[in-house]
Symmetry: C2
Subunit: 355 residues, 2 copies
């Protein structure tokens, strides 16, 4: 199969490792269909027998233990919608071009996840007072193509501060069905509100630790530079930055002149609740409020729509969407280069053709 081809209705961005983007037309609904949910893997996909799968909880705990799939799913589960976004979503729009998966708009999807709160397992193990972080480790394993990476294979892993553990679900169902193999079967973490790299797939181990974890995927990769005085400090990517994306019309689309067009999309991320989405059709000079669709749900995207009176004459028009949250945070106009190739949420104009 070639890059750019379709696979199960998703766009192939890379074969090895497998990376599949959700097509724009599948981003229009609140729930992304399971088979359209984007896929980002880093190593070969582990094929796990559900009956042999075990999850170990260890480290700074009173009673380390192992749990199997039936035991886990017999515990009290919750069902929540949550949006997952790849930290490199929208990367193909960066100028100048940068290395990495060339996501357009489809490195994001929203699903309903059924799973067991991580806190139930932590309570059973008895977290010691020395605990500071939880390392989530997947069964996927390999060596990145990077001269600065570890010299031989290691497992994909990421950590969260202890305080974040209450927001983590160990999901065994996605939109009410078993997880697809490439989305982490049989169990993945869902770390609500964070870039998806934290939501470890093929979960096999939970390690409670007394110090910050400096794994590859939160230092050399999936990190950014934070400025503090005259210093710069490497930080793991965590919370999704606030963003409104336009699903329709798409870049270069032809739109009839002098008519009413429904501009729509989704908005997510940020510290608070999405409270406002605005649309500009004049390159950012003036802004109009869009309607927020449905009800607000924590950590899930909010769909929005705007009725656009298209220009009277043929030509080009530039549309921009901008989200604001309940804490007053919005999107930057300019790209911050200290973010490297990640966390791309500056305003992204799209140009359409008026006929």
């Amino acid at each position: 199969m070639q890059e750019g081809a379709l696979r199960d209705g998703k766009i192939v961005l890379s074969e090895k490792p497998l990376v599949l983007e959700t097509p724009l037309d599948k981003l229009a609904d609140f729930i992304t269909p399971t088979e359209s949910f984007y896929v980002r893997t880093h190593f070969p996909i582990p094929r796990i027998d559900k009956n042999k799968w075990r999850l170990r909880v260890e480290g700074e705990v009173e009673e380390p233990f192992e749990i199997n799939f039936d035991e886990l799913t017999a515990l009290e589960s919750k069902k929540i919608p949550a949006t997952l976004e790849c930290a490199g979503n929208n990367r193909s729009f960066l100028e100048p071009k940068v290395k990495g998966v060339q996501w357009t708009l489809g490195g994001v999807s929203n699903a309903e996840w059924t799973g067991v709160p991580l806190s139930i397992l932590l309570d059973r193990a008895g977290v010691k007072s020395s605990a500071r972080e939880i390392i989530l480790e997947g069964a996927d394993r390999g060596k990145p193509d990077d001269p600065k990476s570890p010299s031989c294979e290691f497992n994909f892993a990421r950590s969260i501060p202890l305080e974040k553990a209450r927001d983590v679900l160990l999901a065994h169902k996605m939109n009410d069905v078993d997880l697809p193999i490439e989305n982490g079967f049989p169990v993945r973490a869902i770390v609500s509100g964070w870039y998806a790299v934290a939501s470890i797939k093929w979960l096999q181990q939970i390690i409670v630790t007394d110090k910050p974890f400096n794994g590859y995927y939160q230092t050399l990769d999936y990190s950014y530079w934070k400025r503090e005085g005259e210093l710069a400090e490497l930080m793991p990517l965590r919370e999704m930055a606030i963003k409104a994306q336009i699903t329709r019309p798409s870049e270069g689309e032809t739109v009839p002149a002098n008519s009413d067009m429904r501009v729509h999309g989704a908005a997510w991320g940020g510290d608070g609740e999405i409270t406002k989405v605005e649309v500009s059709s004049d390159g950012g000079a003036t802004w109009n409020k869009a309607n927020l669709v449905g009800e607000s749900k924590p950590n899930a995207w909010r769909l929005w729509e705007f009725s656009w009176k298209t220009p009277p004459r043929p030509g080009k028009a530039t549309l921009i969407a901008r989200a604001t949250d309940s804490k007053g945070q919005s999107q930057p106009t300019e790209r911050d280069p200290d973010r490297g190739t990640y966390m791309i949420n500056h305003l992204l104009p799209i140009v359409v053709e008026i006929r």
Copy 2:
């Protein structure tokens, strides 16, 4: 000036940034002459007026303050010998070749440092109980040639855990004279026992912090991978690894057959005191104890010598030196690739010509 040329009696390994290696014959004495002390800079060398220089102490302290040069040097000073080694010393011997400054044996020197214990300044400021690390920041400033580095200039900085602060001297003299400009004038840190990257030159700020500092020079650079189960974790380079270096004879040197030759060098690093140096003249099959010269001083190298009965007939001979410390630690035979391009202390054979 060209690379490989001599500058003030040192070997030029790089002009921009300035890197100068100590020639082998200057490594024979306990104290390296000030003008022969190796030089490793990362950014343009700051020219600081001693009368305008200020050192600020701030962060998690009760009373942040600034101190000038006369006030600092009026405080009680200590004088200690300490060996500084660049974490990339011996890099040119790595196979296959790797990027970075191509140090042979002269990325190490030993001097007597006169300075004020950092703990005096910390006590004056009053370190809060939340403190965990001390960031030492230099006046040197720039942007590394690395696509993953911060996007614009920042100051050279490194951190040490609070417990290590008692081993740090703020040195204003080196071998009883003012520091040379390229060695950190007017004040540099001396972090005893650690690779020299921690011994910040042109010191201008001391920041007490409540969390680990993830600066560029302890994450993307000057770091290594530590294995923990199926994970790999990025660690800052800290303690110098134990090592014995042969100063004489040098690689390829011609040595008379059937005679007594004084093989000598220096040994340093490791957690404990250097208690043994051995020399093999048959490629590591058998080992002979060398004599340790002078007295043992903490954090300074120990000179050693061995009277070698050279082989009776012309040909080649292979010499290897090996150090052991009071905790029983010694040097590895094989290179550990998780150390990247740093911490090179595996056994290094040198081949000489018997005539």
